[in-house]
């Protein structure tokens, strides 16, 4: 089994722990894409955690759309714990999708600002 090496996993006890703020922070710091992987619907160890996460992901997508980052950079998937092949497939799907969308405008901007700072140019900040 393999999947693209663009993916880094952050572990949570349940996707129910994933907060809108966590998702926002990842984008704010320059992530090109974020996806939340929970148990299959109806099979949450904590009953409703993955359903709550799904709603929060939808809400966050809306915000991302509103500020022009693109809600499609954020997704939620439900994969059985034992289903490695599906995990790998989803990783590939997400990787391809994000590659097609290109780098996040935030990441591009952060890199520019960083480069400008390195070069000693006065950037628009305080």
């Amino acid at each position: 089994m393999s999947y693209p090496d663009s993916i880094r996993v952050i572990q949570v006890p349940c996707t129910g722990r994933v907060d809108v703020i966590h998702l926002m922070e990842a984008f704010q710091k320059g992530a090109d894409g974020v996806y939340v992987v929970g148990c299959l619907e109806g099979e949450c160890h904590y009953y409703t955690g993955n359903l709550r996460a799904k709603k929060r992901v939808q809400y966050t997508k809306k915000i991302l759309d509103e500020i022009g980052i693109g809600g499609e950079r954020l997704e939620m998937y439900n994969i059985a714990a034992s289903d490695g092949p599906r995990f790998s497939q989803v990783a590939k799907e997400m990787d391809e999708k994000i590659r097609a969308l290109g780098p996040s405008p935030i990441r591009t901007a952060l890199q520019k600002i960083h480069a400008a700072r390195q070069a000693g140019v006065n950037v628009e900040t305080s």
Binding site: D19, V20, I21, M24, E25, F27, Q28, I63, E66, I67, G68, I69, P105, I106, A109, L110, K112, I113, V123, E124, T125, S126
Partner: protein, 222 residues
């Protein structure tokens, strides 16, 4: 409680587009409970605003503070020491909080991040509904605890009107007819006779016609 919702981000961004440092203030009362302006929403808005700026290759500094209440001077006082460091305040309180904030800090531009909607409560998790319009002269005692001012589209005091069909209002099939609800409940309470008592013409001056309202409790006033 006062129920509000966040303004479209575009509108908020419009207010602050020329600033570099803002103070974003939440309120830990009604707007926290209705998921519009508590500490969590402050963090989300802060992040969204920063990203919106970054996208334009600008950096925005946002100081996040959530006060116990924005409708009390003492709580507002808590930010006095830092206010000067920012170019503008964005308040995530209801309209009351925003105005108190503006009154408190006269020299600072203060912008609302929320649209204040109504007085209501949570019907279920995530659903808030209006229950009171603050008419100043409560009739709930006569209407089986169901407010015709809020819940009847025509604010009829002696309803229903001819637009009531199968228990629903003519303005929208999903809206129950307030007067149907009142009659049903009176019936259930065995007080349908009260329905025959015509309500007199209401004194609307207690509502808005007398201008902004004020209550003074002399026993509390210092």
């Amino acid at each position: 409680m006062i129920v509000a919702e966040r303004k479209p981000l575009e509108e908020i961004i419009g207010f602050i587009k020329d600033y570099k440092k803002i103070l974003l203030v939440g309120c830990n009362e009604c707007v926290t409970v209705c998921y519009a302006g508590g500490k969590k929403e402050v963090a989300i808005l802060a992040s969204a605003l920063k990203m919106a700026f970054l996208k334009e290759e600008k950096e925005l500094e946002v100081k996040e503070v959530t006060l116990e209440r924005q409708c009390d001077q003492e709580y507002l006082e808590e930010i006095r020491s830092i206010v000067d460091q920012y170019e503008a305040i964005v308040s995530m309180a209801c309209g009351v909080g925003v105005q108190f904030m503006a009154e408190k800090y006269q020299t600072m531009p203060v912008y609302p991040a929320l649209n204040t909607l109504f007085m209501g409560g949570a019907e279920e998790m995530g659903v808030w509904a209006e229950r009171c319009q603050g008419c100043g002269q409560c009739v709930l005692g006569q209407t089986a605890g169901i407010c015709p001012i809020t819940r009847c589209a025509k604010r009829l005091l002696n309803g229903p009107c001819g637009g009531s069909t199968k228990g629903h209002c003519e303005i929208n099939k999903d809206v129950p007819c307030a007067w149907q609800l009142i009659i049903d409940r009176l019936k259930a309470l065995g007080k349908l006779d009260d329905y025959d008592n015509l309500m007199p013409i209401k004194d609307w001056s207690a509502e808005r016609s007398g201008g902004p309202r004020k209550i003074v409790r002399e026993d509390l006033r210092q």
